[in-house]
Symmetry: C2
Subunit: 139 residues, 2 copies
Amino acid sequence: MKEINLVEKVKSKKLKVTPQRVAILEAIYMLDNHPTAENIIQYIGKNYPNIAVGTVYKVLESFVDNGLLNRVKTENDVMRYDPMVENHHHLYCCESDKIENFEDPELDHLIAEHFRKKKIKNFKIKDIKLQITGIFKNK
Amino acid sequence: MKEINLVEKVKSKKLKVTPQRVAILEAIYMLDNHPTAENIIQYIGKNYPNIAVGTVYKVLESFVDNGLLNRVKTENDVMRYDPMVENHHHLYCCESDKIENFEDPELDHLIAEHFRKKKIKNFKIKDIKLQITGIFKNK
DNA sequence: TTCTTATATAAGAATTATTCTCTTTTAAGA
DNA sequence: TCTTAAAAGAGAATAATTCTTATATAAGAA
């Protein structure tokens, strides 16, 4: 992703455009496996060795609050970040920490139809996410 | 759940039956909202004020390893435990920390059929879990 | 029943991810 | 260029979980 787009993304949320924010957003797009805060710190450490850990967490928080990122739940207690904010599901590898995004509007429709016909008692659905666990092949 | 069943559950996995293990398993069944380690410690603290925190975590780990419990992912970084080990989904309340189990074999079938006809490229599915977020009504 | 031993527990230190505090710096509008 | 609210830096604080080591105990063997 070009620098200019990163800046635009930050600007579009009325956040101050700082080099740290641009570097962190870039790292997330480059790393492309739903990185942890630590992954990000390591990645930007090459050009930016003095960034404060607290800053990274604060920037990530502001990005999540402003809809530039989503947090991704994982089995262990490390938070991971996803630059895809549109509705989608996740493929989890059961042999590694790989997570891939997954979209399937047809399936979404199927599930929505199912719940339209057969509501859950005493519960109003806001969102449905699939966690699909399995094994990635020949990659 | 009766004491005897708890003991049997522990025994069935060839784990030593200790008062701590029985108390912890009982707490999980009694608390019934996918408790955290802390919830459990608080609950059993009434009759068992001296149980060590580390023990609770070790017992939970052994139960998970032996299929008596499952871990449940949450947004924040606290692990929760689920005594239902059969395949099922979760309803997450977006206004509180309530989590409820949800079973719908018809839906499972629908989804399985969908993926039988339309496979995911380069991915072999092992398990599919739905995280259904929403609001619990009149409860 | 008593003995033996692998396993479990207690206690608290250590670790790890994350948040907080406070001071200094800076982006961006006036 | 000036002003100021917001951001960054540095590192302490917190909170959940794991680890370490000495002691205790469940459960099978004798």
